[in-house]
Structure formats: structure tokens, C-alpha cells
Symmetry: C2
């Protein structure tokens, strides 16, 4: 009877509430939860498997290896970074807004940013972001040749800033490290490192966001003034 079946069904669920048919999405969701609650280095095959009430081998049905899992997490995280519209301002301001949005995602998940540097990304959400940025560069009148290389540099800078900055704030003892750095700069031997001693605290000045914004301005300004050389065509790799 329906009643009896429902009851039995409920009891079964209560016993093992997380047990559901294994799917790619299900694994990804469990991974995202673990990421939020415990950080990327707890997003391990074994842990996700345990959360889903199975053995580690099961995850390998859907993900090639741990890196594959992490890459797919990032694209899931990127969500609508590239699609939600950006309004107002010059094209420079718009591209800065777009990249800041990207940086903010990476900022929330320090280790993801570091991973993003060592893996070619190719998820749909990432491609959308790249396309949107390229459109803005074109709008700004940047020649295609420079835009093609420039987008790489803009994304590389953004990712690197996130990887660098977010590590510190997320880690226990980050504050002490900052302080130690300040002392170090102050204590630096003026004979051995004259420039560092001379610039002193100027080296540590400014907030993360201010430095990031300045960095983007430098890149955008530099790109417009730096033409790519015509590459010397290598005859050995060119068909006649």
C-alpha cells in the first residue's frame, strides 16, 4: 500500500539521508559544500566519497582525477560572472568591473585561484567571461593582435593577484606575517639593499583593491601604446 511504502521509504531515507543516485551534479554539489566549509585541500576524493556515502573509487566514474574535479568546481563557481550585464562607464571602467568580478570569485576561494594558474581553463562559463572581455577591448578600439595577447595578460594578472592576496588573508597567522614583513622592510640592511631601504614603507603602501585597480590601468594603458613586433618568421616551421 501507498502508506506503507511511503513510511518504509521515509525510514530508509532517515537511515542514510544523503544516499541518492550518484550523479556528476551531485558530486559537484557535495564538493562545493566541502569547499565552502573546509577549503580546497579538504576537497579530496575520499572525503567527497564519504560525504556521498560511498567509496573513493566511485568518484572516478565521473571525474578523471582530483585536478579534473577542481577544474570543474571553478567553472561552476564562475556562474554568471561573464553574463550578468555591466552598465555605465567607459569601456575601461567596464572591463575593470568585469575583471574585478572575476577576481572576487577567486578571492573567496584562495586555492582555486592558485590552481587556475596551472591549468588551462576551458569551461563554458570561463569562455563566456573571456568573450565578454574581448568584446570590451574591441569596443575600446584595441587592435586584434594586441587584444588577443592582452586578454591573456589581463586574466593572468587578475588570477595572480587573487592567488597572491587571498592566500594571506585566508591563512591563520596572516596578520602576523604582514607585520613580520613590515619589520623586515624596516630592518633591511641599507648597505646591502639600498633601494629597498630607500623606498621603505612605500613598498608596502596601499590596499589590495587600489593596487589591483592601478595594475589594470597600467595594463590597459600599456597595451594601447605597445605594438607587437612582427615575429621573425621561422622558415624551419613554415611551409613554403
Amino acid at each position: 500500500m501507498a502508506d506503507k511504502d511511503t513510511l518504509r521509504e521515509r525510514q530508509r531515507r532517515r537511515e542514510r539521508p544523503k544516499k541518492a543516485p550518484l550523479t556528476r551534479q551531485g558530486i559537484l554539489n557535495a564538493a562545493l559544500t566541502t569547499l565552502r566549509e573546509e577549503g580546497l585541500n579538504k576537497v579530496t576524493m575520499r572525503r567527497i566519497a564519504t560525504a556521498l556515502d560511498t567509496g573513493p573509487a566511485s568518484i572516478y566514474v565521473y571525474f578523471r582525477d582530483t585536478e579534473d574535479l577542481h577544474v570543474q568546481i571553478l567553472d561552476a563557481l564562475l556562474g554568471h560572472v561573464g553574463t550578468s550585464p555591466i552598465t555605465g562607464g567607459t569601456w575601461q571602467e567596464q572591463i575593470k568591473a568585469l575583471l574585478t568580478r572575476y577576481r572576487d570569485v577567486l578571492f573567496e576561494y584562495p586555492e582555486i585561484a592558485r590552481m587556475a594558474l596551472s591549468t588551462r581553463l576551458s569551461g563554458p562559463n570561463y569562455l563566456t567571461l573571456v568573450d565578454a572581455a574581448l568584446a570590451l577591448l574591441q569596443e575600446g578600439g584595441l587592435p586584434d593582435r594586441e587584444a588577443a595577447w592582452g586578454i591573456d595578460q589581463l586574466l593572468l594578472f587578475t588570477t595572480a593577484v587573487a592567488a597572491e592576496q587571498s592566500t594571506r588573508q585566508a591563512m591563520p597567522g596572516a596578520a602576523e606575517e604582514e607585520l613580520a614583513l613590515a619589520f623586515e622592510v624596516a630592518a633591511v640592511d641599507a648597505g646591502q639593499y639600498p633601494q629597498i631601504a630607500r623606498l621603505g614603507n612605500e613598498l608596502l603602501s596601499g590596499t589590495g583593491p587600489d593596487r589591483f585597480a592601478w595594475g589594470l590601468d597600467v595594463l590597459l594603458s600599456g597595451m594601447r601604446n605597445t605594438h607587437r613586433q612582427v615575429e621573425n618568421p621561422d622558415p624551419s616551421t613554415t611551409t613554403p
Copy 2:
């Protein structure tokens, strides 16, 4: 007798040839050998300890943890990057030569570059490099405020390029990945990613060194044309 002692000494050495008094340098040397022969992720506490014929706990006498070991390896690797003289050319060419030298070291050890992004470096060799670069920026007439932030960006870019590029070439299957990327760009949906489709192979053009050199030019040019805003002084953190 001397003869007998020497013989006994030799035999003792032959039995356990690596056993020597444990020193920081000795551990570092063993670590460098392992790095060269097996890569950074084999530079583990346990492995170095085994190589030195002792238990893992012994390493903790000289290094706080695994990260500390890795950081000190990088500074050892940096050797004379910052001290051996750079001759000829404009200050731009000189700073490019200096950073290229830095990149080359990081290129040889992919994982070290990635690590360098997430850890504040402060070894003597690293500071020497920073100081030399700052001197060149000053020689080029870059104002101190911009130089202080600019050096950060130059080093960040260099490290990121090394982390990104070197991963691919060092990994098994890097060639296939490049190829897969090329196919991907070719196959991209022109409706969904119009800009990527439009630029096509332009996005993949150029060699690593050409892109790196262009990137440095962009940065150096941009820095000279981008003044730092006067930061809005935050009254809550300023003493009156």
C-alpha cells in the same frame, strides 16, 4: 694507526654513504637533488629524511614545515640571479634581461613558481634581485611611488608566466593538451562566443618568449603613463 683508521672510516662510509651529520645545508642539498631528479612533489619530509638515512621528524629540527623547506629551496635556486652584472642596452632592456633570468630559474622548476605565488618571499637572494630591479627603475626615471608598486607587478607577472607556461611543458601530455586547445578554439560556437571565434588562432599565436617580452613592454610602458591616484585617506585608521 692512520692506515687502519682510514680503512675503517672508508668501510663505515661504504656501508651508509649518505650518513653525515645533519645540517641545514645538507638537508637543502638533498632536497635540491630530489627536486632535480623527481620534481617538487617528491620533495617531501619523508623522502628527504630517507635520503639522509633518518626519520622524518629530524627535518623538523631545521625547517618549520614543508612550505618552509620549499621556500628556502627557491632562495637557494635564485643563486646569483640578482648579483651577476647585466651589461649593455637601455634600462628597459636591462630590466627585461634581469626578469628573464628570474623567469628562467622558475621555468626549470614549475612547481616552485606556483609556490612562489602563494608565499611571501624574503630570502637574501630574492631581496637582492628586487633591489637590482628597483635600481634599474630608478635609473629609468620612474617615480618612487610608481616604482614601488610597479616592481610588485613586474615580479608577479614574471612568476605567473613561469607558473603557467612551465606547468604545461613539464607535464606528460602537454603536447596533446596544446592540440586540444587549438581544436577547441577552432570548434568554438561562433554564436555563443563571437569574439573568440572571430579572433581564432590569433589567440594562440606567438611563442612564450615573444609573449613574455611583449608583456614586460606593456608593463614598463604603462607604468610610465599611469600615475597613482592619491589614496583617499581613511580617517578611521589615521591618527589625527
